[in-house]
């Protein structure tokens, strides 16, 4: 069953059309990777799913995007509920300049949870699931900006998991990390897909091949092809996809 489904999705930044008739389905408890050359609209598409494009002036959308069958475009959408359900990890780790603890419980606090015991329990659970708990449990009061980049990115993932989203969107989450840290974050993602559905944008084709179940290739605002990763990489149906993955382009 697909957890996100778009139908003839179009998006314009002012007069520039950045997404053209995108039809995409994200399967539950799978990792869906979006690949494609720079500027093809991967981030734009990702940001549609939690309506982060609303922050940008002059963005116009047409078509349909459904999360668990419910339409999320249109003015009536409860953005707070949507963003609780569809969380996002950014390219550059962006922990708040607060303590580690406050970062993890941030979303719980804004969603009205005050009970200290509940917060503590959620913090431990979230940090454990990103494998930071043992490292940091004695140091939760430290400023999050003092952590290493990898730890910061893990913290950002933990911060998200604390509100138990259904979908985790990741926009090149490893692009600022070294290969070792990248590998560990990839392991974490494979672990996380048991409980969450993940959409990841990546520039790194090997990464897409390693971790994703499904893979979509985008070019100039179009979703050229979407399918099982193995098939995309061994038997692409579209010539443009083949050119890209064989390195003839991009």
């Amino acid at each position: 069953m697909s957890i996100i489904e778009t139908n003839k999705l179009n998006l314009w930044y002012g007069t520039f059309q950045a997404l053209i008739d995108v039809n995409l389905a994200v399967a539950q408890n799978k990792i869906t990777a979006l690949i494609g050359p720079s500027g093809c609209g991967k981030s734009t598409l990702l940001r549609v799913f939690n309506r982060m494009n609303d922050l940008i002036e002059g963005v116009r959308l047409a078509g349909s995007v459904k999360v668990r069958g419910a339409e999320i475009l249109g003015d009536g959408t409860d953005l707070i509920a949507l963003r609780k359900k569809v969380g996002m990890v950014f390219q550059r780790p962006n922990p708040f300049p607060l303590s580690i603890y406050e970062n993890v419980v941030y979303a719980l606090r804004i969603h009205g949870i005050r009970d200290k015991q509940k917060l503590d329990a959620a913090a431990e659970k979230a940090l454990s699931s990103v494998l930071l708990w043992d490292e940091l449990k004695d140091n939760l009061g430290a400023n999050a900006l003092t952590l290493s980049l990898e730890q910061q990115q893990r913290l950002c993932i933990a911060r998200l998991l604390a509100v138990t989203p259904e979908v985790v969107l990741m926009d090149e989450p490893c692009s600022t990390l070294d290969p070792l840290a990248t590998m560990r974050i990839e392991e974490l993602m494979i672990e996380l897909k048991k409980r969450y559905s993940i959409v990841i944008v990546t520039h790194n084709m090997q990464q897409a091949a390693r971790i994703s179940d499904d893979c979509g290739y985008m070019l100039l605002g179009e979703l050229v092809e979407l399918g099982e990763t193995k098939r995309i990489f061994t038997a692409p149906r579209d010539q443009r996809t083949e050119d890209y993955i064989t390195g003839r382009f991009g």
């Binding site: 939690n50 982060m52 922050l55 953005l79 707070i80 509920a81 949507l82 963003r83 609780k84 969380g87 996002m88 950014f90 550059r92 962006n94 922990p95 708040f96 300049p97 607060l98 941030y106 979303a107 606090r109 804004i110 969603h111 900006l145 950002c156 911060r159 998200l160 509100v163």
Partner: protein, 293 residues
């Protein structure tokens, strides 16, 4: 041909640069020399802790406690008014106002900074003082409160623009991260934006205090000018600056009274110096914290 010309220009620029330091040193030396002369006549303790400022009675008493308290009352009042308003204004301008309206507001605040303080003092006398007088049923509206309100107006532009700067220079990723977690704009402001800008906010407060404590003309006109120990904001007070301005003309050169005014100058100098130092420290920290991201 260009060599000697370059040489002259270089030296000129150098001397202009050095002159600024030189002037500061000369002023400070002069201030110290004149101010410290007082302490042959009066002890430092009595200057700092005597509660009576009677410079022309016989024998004269030069206790600056009432003046210090006067400055403290007026400054504290002004900051208590100006900081919350300035913070709110800066948040509105940077986070909520549509761009065209934000620009109008910013221009308005800059204009506020351009009003000469004597004009503010004058307006205060004819509008604010009578208003306070009727509202609180006072014998006179010229009080610490009147001074605080007028000075709050003067400190606002500094406070708003520095806080606004601090907020605008927050990395966009903080705001995005918070909104992406389902926070409202207002939750984002008070849970992330304000804490992230806290060094800038502290610097703004310090510079606001600096602006207020050094102000003379408006406070001279509007605080009622009574060198007594204030117990309430509804009493007239006299600040350190106003005392110098008001009494310099009548003090006999070389007298204790004359030296005591210079000694007050030293106190003001020290206070300003500390405040500027703190402001610098906070500004520095605010910039450094941001560069890391």
């Amino acid at each position: 041909m260009r060599r000697p010309f370059d040489y002259i220009i270089e030296k000129l620029v150098f001397f202009s640069g050095v002159a600024s330091i030189l002037f500061v040193i000369l002023i400070f030396v002069f201030l110290l020399k004149e101010g410290l002369s007082l302490f042959g006549e009066v002890s430092i303790q009595s200057f700092l802790f005597n509660v009576n400022w009677f410079p022309i009675s016989d024998p004269p008493q030069f206790g600056i406690v009432p003046l210090l308290l006067g400055s403290l009352f007026v400054t504290l009042g002004a900051i208590v008014i100006a900081v919350p308003m300035g913070l709110a204004a800066a948040i509105y301008i940077s986070e909520f106002a549509p761009r065209w309206f934000a620009n109008i507001l910013k221009t308005g605040i800059e204009l506020l900074a351009a009003i000469p303080s004597i004009v503010l003092g004058f307006i205060g006398i004819v509008t604010l003082a009578p208003f306070l007088k009727t509202v609180f049923r006072l014998p006179s509206g010229l009080t610490a409160l009147a001074g605080s309100i007028m000075l709050a107006f003067m400190a606002m532009p500094t406070i708003v623009s520095i806080i606004e700067d601090a907020i605008v220079s927050n990395p966009k990723s903080y705001k995005e991260g918070s909104l992406a977690l389902g926070a409202t704009r207002w939750q984002t402001v008070y849970r992330v934006t304000i804490p992230a800008a806290s060094s800038g906010i502290l610097a703004a407060i310090m510079l606001g205090i600096g602006r207020v404590i050094g102000e003379t003309m408006a406070v001279l006109m509007i605080t009622g000018n009574a060198a007594v120990i204030p117990t309430s904001f509804l009493q007239p007070v006299r600040t350190l600056t106003a005392t110098i301005a008001a009494e310099m003309g009548e003090a006999v050169a070389g007298s204790g009274h004359y030296y005591s005014l210079f000694a007050i100058g030293i106190i003001l100098f020290i206070i300003s110096f500390i405040i500027n130092l703190l402001a610098d420290l906070f500004l520095h920290r605010s910039r450094k914290g941001k560069r890391k991201r």
